[in-house]
């Protein structure tokens, strides 16, 4: 596959390190002893049945959820209760949500320039240039002055990706980016994600799009019951799953 040729671009330096991380919701143990190292330029797809903790895991990486035990280090900064560190990490790690979460009261352009202007302190004009560059990239520049409510789901999700990119993040988290979309819109969003991959972006993607995983991921993780049960390169993962729950899961979604 074309995009896989970028394999050698993986840096050995880790950008995200998670060590012995646990999380509870009240009494419920959602994440159990998670260990994960993501290298710069690496692309990881996380799959697993619903309720397995995969979304919670990536939401811990930018502290939308708080972990209770263990360590998460992003870009050399350990996540603690220190607000400054949390805000710093959030500017370095972009996130794309299942339900897009665009700001409905702002135009597409304003959605994109908000972060650069207020967080990065970029001058407005420059921020708009950056925004237009990324809107071109997700092929939606002609919609810049519309409001999110006027766009289709697929278009909104592409805008959401562009919004994250405007912050020039070092890594991107995708939380089921295509699962709220009508089927005919899934491809346009995946295409944008594939082109991001080709540019060498570090990506962690929670998704059931196995085609995407096969063509783009360096590594596929399978989670169930709050644990990472299996991880492998896509070929091995799909052709030769080791764990019986992985086999069951794959047989259910690949029928």
């Amino acid at each position: 596959m074309n995009s896989k040729q970028a394999d050698q671009t993986i840096d050995q330096a880790a950008i995200i390190t998670i060590e012995n991380m646990h999380k509870w919701y009240g009494e419920f143990h959602v994440l159990k002893d998670i260990n994960l190292t993501v290298k710069k330029g690496e692309r990881i797809v996380i799959c697993g049945p619903s309720g397995s903790g995969k979304s919670t895991l990536i939401r811990c990486i930018n502290r939308l959820e708080e972990h209770q035990r263990g360590k998460i280090i992003v870009d050399g900064i350990e996540l603690t209760n220190d607000l400054k560190n949390i805000e710093k990490i959030r500017t370095e790690v972009g996130m794309v949500f299942q339900h897009f979460n665009l700001f409905p009261h702002l135009t597409i352009l304003e959605n994109l320039t908000l972060g650069p202007i207020w967080v990065r302190k970029t001058p407005k004009k420059e921020a708009e240039e950056i925004a237009m560059y990324y809107l071109e990239k997700v092929r939606i520049a002609e919609q810049a002055l519309k409001f999110p409510g006027q766009l289709s789901g697929g278009q909104q999700q592409r805008v959401a990706i562009a919004r994250s990119l405007c912050m020039k993040p070092n890594a991107m988290l995708f939380d089921e980016p295509t699962s709220a979309l009508d089927p005919e819109m899934v491809k346009e969003v995946l295409d944008v994600m594939i082109s991001l991959a080709q540019d060498g972006m570090t990506m962690i993607v929670v998704s059931h799009e196995m085609g995407f995983a096969k063509s783009v991921a360096h590594r596929v993780l399978f989670m169930d019951g709050g644990e990472i049960l299996e991880q492998n390169d896509p070929e091995e993962f799909f052709n030769n799953p080791q764990h019986e729950r992985t086999q069951l899961f794959l047989s259910q979604i690949l029928d």
Partner: protein, 366 residues
């Protein structure tokens, strides 16, 4: 020709929606006389209108007197609008010295012009803010005097329309941000701030405005060191702000709760801090949702300013009442109150009308 092919795609595409309106008669048939019950109701209502409207017009316009004296009015049958025209200066300006009444008049005009100018959202720039500052300063100067050769006028003599507008405009514009802050405070994770806001809101909402005004004028001065006084109008103003803010806070809280978690998370994931998130993302949307209930509160607060009579301030309603104690004009309360009601109505109508326009302008859904 292919006239038999009625259902080719072309003819279906050309179909027009069925006609629903067939002139005035058709409309009346469809809405006023559809069925015997509706027809009877329509006739009864028309009869009642016939009974009331012509005599009302007769009284208010045809047989009314506009510039007569009290005695002359007694001879006539119609409305005696003279009670308003003869006392207009007292009704509008109270005990403000007669020869200086151009000053409150000018202040009111400045206020109205500023309000009208501020309506247009395209004018919302920094310069408008400075315009308001200058305008407020000028209004204060005009009312109070004492500078630039303007004769000073004691605030005890302020009254009528300027007082009502002053209390309302300042009360409402100050109460709104205070209410927003209380609403945010009530959602705060910091227990001290949160409980302060909860106690404040619940306490104030549990007390009638009259008692607050009364406390501000009678009880509060007892706590001040001897010899120190705070202007009575200012105290009433503060009471109105405190009171209205509590109600605004609850309405705004409703709007905040209507915001989806995703909006907070999206803002957070961009690295925006709490204040930026609130100012740029949450409040603009939440406040937009609560425009209708906020305006209800503002309108009722505007009318509630008339309660300041309890602490002997001569607002518009009180000056009108006072006029009616003059033996010459005693019997004409209906005319006088209709006039005051009109002024209140115009102000309230302006507010609700404006809020509807604002809602439409801010609607970004389509």
């Amino acid at each position: 020709m292919e006239e038999t092919h009625h259902h080719t795609p072309d003819t279906i595409g050309d179909l027009k929606p069925p006609l629903t309106e067939v002139g005035v008669i058709g409309w009346m048939k469809a809405n006023l006389f559809n069925g015997w019950l509706n027809s009877i109701l329509t006739i009864i209502v028309l009869y009642l209108l016939w009974l009331t409207i012509p005599p009302l017009i007769n009284w208010a316009l045809i047989k009314s007197s506009w510039l007569a004296s009290g005695e002359q009015c007694k001879a006539g049958e119609g409305a005696c609008w003279s009670v308003v025209t003869a006392n207009i200066r007292f009704i509008l300006f109270g005990f403000y010295p007669h020869q200086l009444q151009w000053r409150p008049l000018l202040a009111v005009v400045i206020l109205i012009l500023l309000l009208l100018y501020s309506q247009n959202r395209n004018h919302w720039h920094k310069s408008l803010f400075y315009g308001w500052l200058i305008g407020l300063f000028t209004m204060g100067l005009l009312l109070k005097g004492g500078l630039f050769g303007l004769e000073p006028v004691e605030s005890n003599n302020w009254g009528g329309l300027p007082l009502t507008l002053l209390l309302a405009v300042f009360g409402l514009t100050a109460a709104y941000p205070v209410g927003v802050m209380l609403a945010l405070g009530r959602q705060s994770r910091m227990p001290v701030i949160k409980s302060f806001c909860v106690v404040y809101i619940e306490l104030i909402r549990g007390v009638p405005l009259i008692s607050l005004l009364f406390m501000s004028s009678v009880v509060f001065p007892l706590f001040l060191p001897e010899g120190m006084t705070i202007n009575k109008i200012l105290r009433a103003q503060v009471a109105i702000i405190i009171f209205t803010a509590a109600y605004i806070a609850e309405v705004v809280r409703g709007g905040l709760q209507g915001m989806s978690k995703g909006q907070y998370e999206a803002a957070a994931s961009l690295g925006l801090n709490y204040f930026q998130t609130m100012r740029l993302i949450i409040l603009p949307q939440a406040l937009k949702i609560v425009i209708p209930p906020s305006v209800s509160i503002l309108i009722s607060a505007f009318k509630d300013t008339s309660l300041v009579v309890i602490i002997a301030l001569y607002d518009l309603l009180k000056t009108t009442q006072t006029t009616l104690t003059d033996p010459q004009w005693m019997g004409y309360s209906a005319e006088a109150y209709i006039f005051v009601a009109l002024i209140y109505f115009v102000c309230c109508f302006f507010m609700s009308n404006y809020s509807r326009r604002l809602e439409k302008e801010l609607d970004t859904s389509l």
